[in-house]
Symmetry: C2
Subunit: 206 residues, 2 copies
């Protein structure tokens, strides 16, 4: 079977899907969510508008799938197996959390992820419907992955039994996103480590 034969339709679909995602992410980065249109995405991707509407009902649906795909690729680059949705569990909670927060720092410092993620976060902040979809599809699953890891550590006696896994998750993820979004300080591995250290030790004297 050589590549010179009739093109494989599923491969062609995959190429179009990838072109649509790339165009959508580029446009939302360059012009913002509000000014990105299905027509503009189609033109930049070199596909017909009908092709987009065959697969997605709306601009928001295209962009959300593009972000999910981007996020899956980021996870794969960080070494996660395809479809892997759990945090590592080496038995050392601090080490596992440092590992994951350092990977998050790397992702947020990467312009390929930074710009479109800002655009979607900004749009979701002022558009409640898009914000709810963004949170449900992307953010909530990430938070639950952290909460499950902390719950397992609590069950194993490695975390204070009074810990609420959801609050503990937000203690780790919230500051990182806040510093990233508002650029209130450098986003480094040392910062990720300090966050884990403070969240585990707490502020009260021992």
């Amino acid at each position: 079977m050589s590549d010179a034969k009739a093109p494989d339709p599923s491969r062609r679909s995959e190429r179009s899907r990838r072109a649509v995602f790339d165009a959508a992410l580029a446009l939302v980065t360059e012009t913002g969510y509000a000014r990105t249109t299905v027509e503009g995405i189609a033109a930049r991707a070199g596909v017909g508008k009908q092709t987009i509407y065959r697969w997605w009902p709306s601009k928001a649906a295209v962009l959300l799938d593009a972000f999910l795909d981007l996020s899956a690729r980021a996870a794969a680059e960080a070494g996660a197996a395809p479809g892997e949705t759990e945090l590592p569990d080496s038995g050392d909670l601090a080490a596992d959390l440092r590992h994951v927060l350092r990977a998050t720092v790397d992702e947020l410092n990467d312009p390929r992820y930074d710009a479109p993620t800002r655009a979607l976060a900004a749009e979701g902040a002022t558009d409640p419907e898009l914000g709810a979809r963004f949170t449900a599809a992307l953010l909530e699953p990430q938070l639950q992955v952290f909460a499950r890891r902390i719950e397992a550590a609590r069950a194993a006696g490695r975390v204070d039994p009074a810990t609420d896994p959801r609050i503990a998750t937000e203690l780790l993820v919230g500051p990182l996103h806040h510093r990233w979004l508002h650029r209130t300080g450098p986003l480094t591995h040392a910062y990720a480590d300090a966050l884990v250290d403070h969240a585990l030790r707490g502020l009260a004297p021992r």
Copy 2:
């Protein structure tokens, strides 16, 4: 001296300034930062465009002052004296932090503050210059107020000596803003209390 005499020019200025702020906050809430113009603010405030340009060099400058004024009014409503910039220090760090984070929850749940704050946060997320001004003028002073209170507690031996006051501040403020911005859960006094409790105790077993 009766009010029927010639109008007091400084009082008239104050009325115009207030009208400009109200118009700016209403417009940015209704149409977003990008579509808010100096012309639109002037028309809604019932003042000339020249009046605005006499006091402020740009749209961003008007909006930033309107936000600073809004924030000062919110602080006054929360019981702070005018110009007061320090956290209460009753000697009980947990109680003082609960008090302040509960007031922040009330403010973020108030539509008068929620909508314009979202608009500015969203714009700052994608516009680095505006974001830097927003952070420098509004966010950074708030973070430093927390950091000074935690530093005082550390000096008094009420906080673990290994605590970095800045990281500790972000541990308290970051999750609250993250939950507010992305609507990942209810913003309640109980949540504020749980955050303080977890940040002080830490996750590690004692």
